[in-house]
Subunit: 356 residues, 2 copies
Amino acid sequence: MQTLQVRTPSHAYPIHIGKGLLADFSLFAPHIGKKAAIVTNTTVSALYAGALEKLLRDNGVETFSIVLADGEAHKNHQSLLQIYDALLAHRADRKTAVVALGGGVIGDTAGFAAATYQRGVPLIQIPTTLLSQVDSSVGGKTAVNHPLGKNMIGAFYQPQAVIADLDTLTTLPEREFSAGMAEVVKYALLGDAAFLAWLEENIGGIMRQDADLLAQTVAHCCQMKADIVAQDETEQGIRAHLNLGHTFGHAIEAEMGYGNWLHGEAVAAGMVLAAELSRVQGCLNAGEVARVSALLRAAALPVVPPEFPFERWLAHMRHDKKVQNGQMRFVTLRRLGEAQVSVLDDENLLRQVLSA
Amino acid sequence: MQTLQVRTPSHAYPIHIGKGLLADFSLFAPHIGKKAAIVTNTTVSALYAGALEKLLRDNGVETFSIVLADGEAHKNHQSLLQIYDALLAHRADRKTAVVALGGGVIGDTAGFAAATYQRGVPLIQIPTTLLSQVDSSVGGKTAVNHPLGKNMIGAFYQPQAVIADLDTLTTLPEREFSAGMAEVVKYALLGDAAFLAWLEENIGGIMRQDADLLAQTVAHCCQMKADIVAQDETEQGIRAHLNLGHTFGHAIEAEMGYGNWLHGEAVAAGMVLAAELSRVQGCLNAGEVARVSALLRAAALPVVPPEFPFERWLAHMRHDKKVQNGQMRFVTLRRLGEAQVSVLDDENLLRQVLSA
């Protein structure tokens, strides 16, 4: 097991990464009181909730599960109200821990419920997908979607601990594994050219889920995320770089209906568009854009966005959270391994990228 | 105009108290960008929203109003979703200020919307009732009610500024003015015996809304609140004292249906019960309990709770946010002018107080 530390102005907490962690009560003990609510979905519940409930109960923790419908389409206010209702029905109080057991949707939804139930209760993140292990479980962003925009309602709320058990990845469908790889590639592109080269070299082994390569990959991404969050907890500056590919990606997800394109798939196609935008800005050359595409294709990810009218792209992107005083802002690449935030004042550049 | 400062670990901000403040753009300018959403209710909108919209627009701020139904019954998720929908429809972004124009319900609901829209946008509190000027607009508690409990869903989120215009109290119905006085009396009881004596002496003038006495009252309560919040922003300790009378009060509000007893009325009856609990604990004598009742009666407030079964009281109070690991906790008085938090391990004490 490796343990990293996330240090923010508001809080410090550990990320544990390794195998067999869901059977180790000592990782939970410092963060849990007499009662805990496990928030999970129908798929993950069938695989892991029973054993986790037993672990907690055998150690004297009164435990109940809240099982949401599976999928991005359910990352909404209805799921949130389902969690609140269950917490109140079970008389959860301010010391009751919320344990988020699942992927990014569960982590974000349960995390926001924990942030707002009685103005905040302890939260433990147990990410069970590659995407949530390398990205969404770390750093305290929580949110649900609104019909008019992804992650529009949320809070910055740090967990007490993140417990990333690599064994849970063995039950992950291949398509979900690939979706997680999109965020892995994102870290390389936005901030670490050496990691990009390492990924290109090892992508075959990682996709076969070689245990050592996978552990290195998860730990490296978590460390990068922890470093960025430590510098900028509430996204006043550098944290925005983590949105590489996400402005385009969110538009794809919203246009296609949440869940039809997986978040990681939309981000993959979005990163190719961001790379292309960086090229028309004069920062990347065509060969570098092709290198981005090739790595994503090797991770079995889509690199071409779905076709829909330019006006629909604009409509979605104008709701992006990086918009400030009406101006659209994009994360682009200054070079492979270094991101920047660009204010887009010429819509034609965007039209050019999207019509290519 | 008087200006007090609230300093918390997360943030520092001014409270402006005086007459004619709603016409002074210089108080808004430091906290507002290109766009602002005024959140108000049908009653307050008719009185003050037009002039405020004009002030902001005349100074170049794009402004739109979100008008909620009036009353505690509407401090719920439906109103919250109405605010989110309007913010998105008007393309509010992270720099768009939310201006809460109204009483405690508006401040709490709009405040929670500001805390969670895009994970947090600037918030300006303009309290227009005595209750919100002396209490709820200061300190960053935001929340909406759940059918199973008051203020169950919320966040700690500090405003950029509080602008308390005493002129707005002239349009306040007498019953609402009295409700605000309950919180004024609360401050005296929980932490300031000299202020209690001053209130007893001046209650007649205050109830006639003598301008100087009223300004002194509001400023004194805001200063006490600011001092307590500076010590304990997220209610780990002393801030709980501000809940004097509220555990009983919330039970009354929930049992009678939100809005039938005003919050301040329920708190008034609740403070008499808390005083009575302090008496059976051996801290107050019967004369001191009578002194509490007399002052509340002089403020035209109810001092006897509605009758309902003991089991209903218990059911409501077990959902109180001060419950920890299943134990009920009450704010009681060590003496007049000094509060404490008591763990209640003998339900019979409570039965005795409620059956008296």
